[in-house]
Assembly symmetry: C2
Homo-oligomer: 479 residues x 2
């Protein structure tokens, strides 16, 4: 038992030190290893399998809305990056520059893409001529590089994996519809597949994407009460179109600029999965995206018939398209339990000689640790139902956590006291002036997370300056 | 009709200028666009969909052999690249160097990965300690950069997409087995999914991968008689293991070096698909990987019931998991036919008012242009069968082409005459001395493609020097 305890004890408890708990889980669950370049990580099989599952669900959702995948170059010439003024100001300070190709210095330096708006614009401007060519709904799955100073696995790294969608449209209305639609796709992914509730809203001017007219966001709340921006969707209007000359001939034969959007979701979302659902035994994965949904652990697997029955059950469940593993290594059952809990496998199926004799197996939920004994002939029905229940329960608990950690403030004192003592979202009114936003950030370290779509004026005045309020804002400390 | 003719005429015929035909197809079929950096391309939806299909089939084949996916950093520190002498000599002259991160010069320059052996070694050396940790069977899907001088879409570009598998094993035998197994996986993908026959064999010392003990390859033959290296699998022995200190404690408690392999297949294979199956009307795609397998074209779609029936058929076929499109644009049927032929869609289903009245549709094969009339009620059975037939016929024709363009040479004169007059593979004996290989390349531009696994001594002496022969070699001009 000493060994098993060691594995579990090796994680710092989240109540003691949440940041250290996070790092411990990321490493012990085998999601990543640090590479020897700061801010670049090795995504190990357990981590990459999560990303593959997220990709699969999200890509299907994209394609259902007509999106097509493409691939743009990794490198961007400096002159191209500079074409849109706000964009280059936002990104130039944090890109990696390629200056040599082989043994030759380059005539113009190239940056490793931090995002690909400029490449899509450069492509679209030659590819689109007529209203018949519109809309273009392209997406790419790739890695991007941003030279961040502070880095943490998944949450902020110098290289990360993501998808970036870039669409162009004949009308501003259509672009706005697409911007909202893709935010909804992200919110659906979070709710239905990742069991993560989010607040949908609009970023303030200060927090919007460099070069965008406006940015929509989904914000999730982590277990420690800090917010995580989990996916963003930007409406560019015709800003880039004018800078790049993206024009088309409309039905009335007039030359018009296209309207444009972009939207992205990254491996950062794996950080959200960990910090929304994890506990002091490690990861807790929602069944819908868990690479392994059920792990069979034979107890006394040397006993006659146990391993054979375990294999038979594995086959039977796999045939039902339940992702089922079998741990028949020579580790002790206790060690296996601890390992699988660390990895967040939603359901454990225990099977020993006694169970075999009685024609039953023991099911243990990862999320609640509840056990139940199920006759073999009922497993085919019970397991899928239980996985559904776990998925729903995980969402419900995360939603309860979000709701119980969302506060309202009507005065600045109340705001400051809440931020200090009650980690979570604070709903408070704002005048719309960046000076107030800056002051709040400086004095409390809380930032405006979003102006929720669901606007409900909870008072008439700005929390900070007392002038008339324009927007309800979700504020919070964030990752 | 003028417009339709224009679309078709716009392709150079392959007999006239094969290189121009290739470029025309790549562009007109919408596979790529050139970017504004030499050697970097935009892979458009039709091109990327092909890569997605290839990825899906290949990834499933990998996973069936126990391979797991991971993701390694994009950038490699110069000192790491230099750790294995032969490897750095092979790659350093053609890498892109990152020298600045944000506004700061880097202390050590980083290259954009040209391949990731060094990163996997650096990771494995800390991650693996005991025989219990072995084998490790990791793969990643990513893009790599090699600063090539001459570039052509898919065939040779400065950035390309690929997968690179990197495995480590406890014994040399196991590593050798894996090296051969992965070559077989590539050959199976080509034969069963891409309808491309290949010659399996070993590269000569001159042609092997930088740092490998030996390299296995599959070589395909293009329509113009030139060879294309289509996938390679390398056995590194313990060369990198010694350079990087990748050791493990074996069952007998002794410290040993791991044995290592790597294997890769890239978007280059799309070039093979084009040049093995294409014709003067454009692409011809094997049904198993065609993103759209059947395209329904309504004839006089304004006539009563035609479009409704077309939509009904599309639904019916989609329910059978046949990837079915419906072209209900306002283009003329002739224009649609030409466009779909250019895109290589395996089967066209034509449906006009007359067909509707007679309860039938017309099926037209892309590969042979054969037409057949099929009653509605037989479509559900006929179409899948026909797709299977097309797949099999495409392989058979490619194999016939390979066989009829494979020659034997017993003297150097015969060799030179064949190379000049009969584009294809030449089977000829070789002494094993690199001087002969160099001489043949210099005088004929033909290179050794591989020493086939199926060794059949067709004479006793080297084609070039007349000394005793050691190996049968496939020679050819190559891409």
């Amino acid at each position: 038992m000493a060994k098993e305890k060691k594995l579990v004890e090796a994680i710092t408890s989240m109540e003691e030190d949440f940041a250290q708990w996070y790092t411990d889980v990321v490493i012990k669950a085998g999601l990543i290893a640090y590479s020897n370049i700061k801010g670049f990580m090795v995504i190990k099989p357990a981590g990459y399998a999560l990303w593959e599952a997220i990709q699969k669900h999200l890509d299907a959702r994209f394609k259902a809305t007509g999106v097509e995948n493409v691939y743009m170059p990794l490198l961007i010439p400096e002159s191209l990056l500079q074409k849109e003024k706000d964009h280059v100001e936002g990104f130039a300070p944090e890109v990696a520059w390629v200056t040599h190709g082989g043994t030759e210095p380059l005539q113009e330096r190239l940056c490793v893409r931090p995002t690909s708006e400029t490449l899509f614009c450069d492509f679209y401007k030659d590819d689109v001529h007529s209203y018949r060519d519109l809309p273009r709904l392209y997406n790419q799955w790739c890695s991007v590089v941003r030279w961040e100073k502070e880095t943490r696995p998944f949450l902020r790294s110098r290289e990360f994996l993501w998808q970036e969608g870039h669409t162009i449209h004949a009308t501003a209305e259509e672009a706005e519809e697409r911007t909202k639609l893709m935010l909804q796709v992200y919110a659906d992914l979070c709710r239905e597949d990742l069991a993560i509730p989010t607040i949908k809203g609009q970023k303030t001017e200060k927090e919007k994407f460099a070069g965008a007219e406006h940015t929509y966001t989904i914000e999730a709340l982590m277990h420690d009460g800090r917010a995580l921006q989990s996916g963003t969707s930007h409406n560019f209007g015709d800003g880039f179109a004018r800078a790049f000359g993206m024009q088309f001939t409309d039905k009335d034969n007039s030359l018009k600029y296209v309207s444009q959007t972009s939207w992205g979701l990254s491996t950062r979302i794996i950080g959200a999965l960990i910090m929304v659902h994890g506990d002091n035994s490690g990861l807790v994965l929602p069944p819908r995206i868990a690479p392994t949904q059920v792990m069979i652990v034979p107890i006394r697997q040397d006993a006659e018939g146990v391993l054979d029955k375990a294999k038979e059950l594995q086959k039977q469940l796999a045939a039902q398209e339940i992702r089922t593993g079998l741990d028949d290594t020579d580790k002790s059952p206790g060690w296996k339990f601890a390992e699988q809990e660390m990895r967040g496998i939603p359901l454990r199926l225990e099977l020993g000689p006694k169970d075999l004799a009685q024609g039953q197996a023991v099911l243990v939920r990862r999320d609640t640790r509840e056990k139940e004994i199920v006759p073999f002939e009922e497993l085919a029905e019970r397991i899928p139902a239980l996985l559904e229940t776990i998925q729903a329960d995980m969402y419900r608990r995360a939603e309860e956590h979000l709701n119980s950690h969302t506060y309202e403030a009507h005065t600045y004192d109340e705001f400051k006291e809440t931020i200090e003592k009650k980690p979570g979202f604070i709903r408070a009114m704002w005048c719309g002036d960046q000076a107030c936003e800056d002051k709040i950030k400086e004095e409390t370290t809380a930032t405006s997370r979003c102006m929720p779509f669901d606007q409900e004026p909870i008072s008439d005045v700005c929390i900070c300056c007392g002038r008339p309020a324009k927007h309800l804002v979700y504020w919070g400390k964030s990752y």
